[in-house]
């Protein structure tokens, strides 16, 4: 054929053009959108928490909340360095090492401080995770996809707050199997775990379990909504955060 080269190029460019539109055309065919968000779910740009340490400051009170959290998420009880913690408590010196002045108000110094994952705006754990098992959700929660965790523990090295625990042994050995929450999975040996800001509760419109049970001592809300309960407290009360100089921008604030 005389025009063979011309026709070939025309056909080729036509084919290239269809390649560009075909995926869109195919994606829209049928109009079946299989997944959606529960209409009851609550949303935010960045979930944040304010813990009022004038109200919540004893180890017993914090341990009671921790027990609720740990029962809800099937967190095993291990009494050693291999401890698994989602919500725990510690001293002022360990909580705010950068803000430790000599001759600090005694009462403040002797309080117990509730600790959990800070769900940082600029999380170092997310940067180091080689499998993206730890990732930042659009609502700011630093979430873990346990299915992808390979147990390398880079995130534990990267977290400045010690918010992550490694399952050195089979967690089910240290759980009361008759009292498991059947709605939530456990973890297995060899994965890291941490507080999840109760994503599974937010997804059905409930508040995190510790905030709900705290009788007002823990406030939860959207950091970027000026009308949110969190912003209201931040406007009115003096708050500090843990290790601000590290630059991870923690989203858990403490009223002192």
């Amino acid at each position: 054929m005389k025009n063979s080269r011309r026709t070939f190029i025309k056909l080729a460019s036509l084919a290239a053009a269809t390649l560009a539109v075909a995926p869109k055309a195919m994606a829209s065919s049928g109009g079946h959108e299989p997944v959606s968000v529960n209409p009851k779910a609550v949303h935010a740009k960045q979930w944040a928490m304010v813990i009022d340490t004038t109200k919540l400051h004893t180890a017993e009170a914090i341990e009671k909340l921790a027990a609720l959290c740990h029962a809800d998420h099937n967190v095993p009880t291990v009494q050693s360095k291999k401890e698994i913690k989602w919500l725990w408590n510690d001293t002022y010196a360990h909580t705010f090492p950068e803000q430790e002045n000599p001759h600090l108000a005694e009462e403040v110094h002797h309080r117990a401080y509730a600790l959990l994952c800070n769900h940082c705006e600029n999380p170092s754990c997310v940067r180091v995770c080689p499998t993206k098992a730890t990732f930042k959700r659009p609502d700011g929660i630093v979430a873990m996809d346990y299915h992808r965790c390979i147990g390398c523990r880079y995130c534990m090295a990267a977290c400045p707050f010690g918010s992550r625990s490694f399952n050195w042994e089979e967690p089910r050995k240290n759980l009361d199997l008759t009292k498991l929450n059947p709605e939530f999975p456990t973890r297995m040996r060899g994965v890291v775990e941490k507080c999840n800001f109760c994503v599974e509760r937010l997804a059905v419109g409930k508040m995190p379990i510790c905030a709900e049970a705290s009788e007002g001592a823990i406030v939860f809300g959207d950091l970027y909504d000026p009308e949110s309960p969190v912003r209201k407290v931040l406007r009115e009360k003096f708050t500090i955060r843990r290790k601000p100089s590290v630059g991870t921008e923690p989203c858990v604030y403490y009223v002192i």
Partner: protein
């Protein structure tokens, strides 16, 4: 032409042929007929998430998509091809209908020689011991 070592060669060949065809000859008598596994029927419900044929062959794919949708995209409601909605959850949806893992999932999996590691973390409806 004379064949060197004719007897051992022929005998060896014969033994080889008998050995290699033995499974076909005696196999039927020795091995059992393969039977399709019979997973436990669901009581009270007629339909699965999708058609039975689809579930039979694609449930592992569906579960894989389910966990990404729920955990990574934060979308926890699945609408099937008939327009019916389900909460995306292995423990709280699949296993609420298929209330016996041993008599359902395991029935097929044992035959197929797969042992999904899901149950290292997910709690089976029978509970743990």
């Amino acid at each position: 032409m004379k064949m060197h070592y004719g007897f051992p060669i022929i005998a060896g060949l014969l033994i080889f042929v008998v050995a290699i065809t033995a499974p076909f000859a005696v196999g039927k008598a020795v091995t059992k007929q393969y039977k399709q596994p019979e997973p436990k029927k669901v009581v009270g419900e007629k339909e699965c998430i999708e058609s039975v044929e689809f579930m039979r062959t694609e449930h592992m794919q569906l579960l894989n998509e389910w966990r990404d949708w729920a955990l990574r995209d934060g979308k926890r409601i699945y609408t099937n091809h008939a327009g019916k909605q389900f909460t995306i959850s292995l423990q709280n949806t699949c296993m609420k209908c298929h209330t016996n893992k041993a008599e359902f999932c395991d029935k097929c999996h044992n035959d197929a020689g797969v042992s999904p590691y899901c149950w290292d973390c997910h709690v089976q409806p029978e509970g743990l011991k």
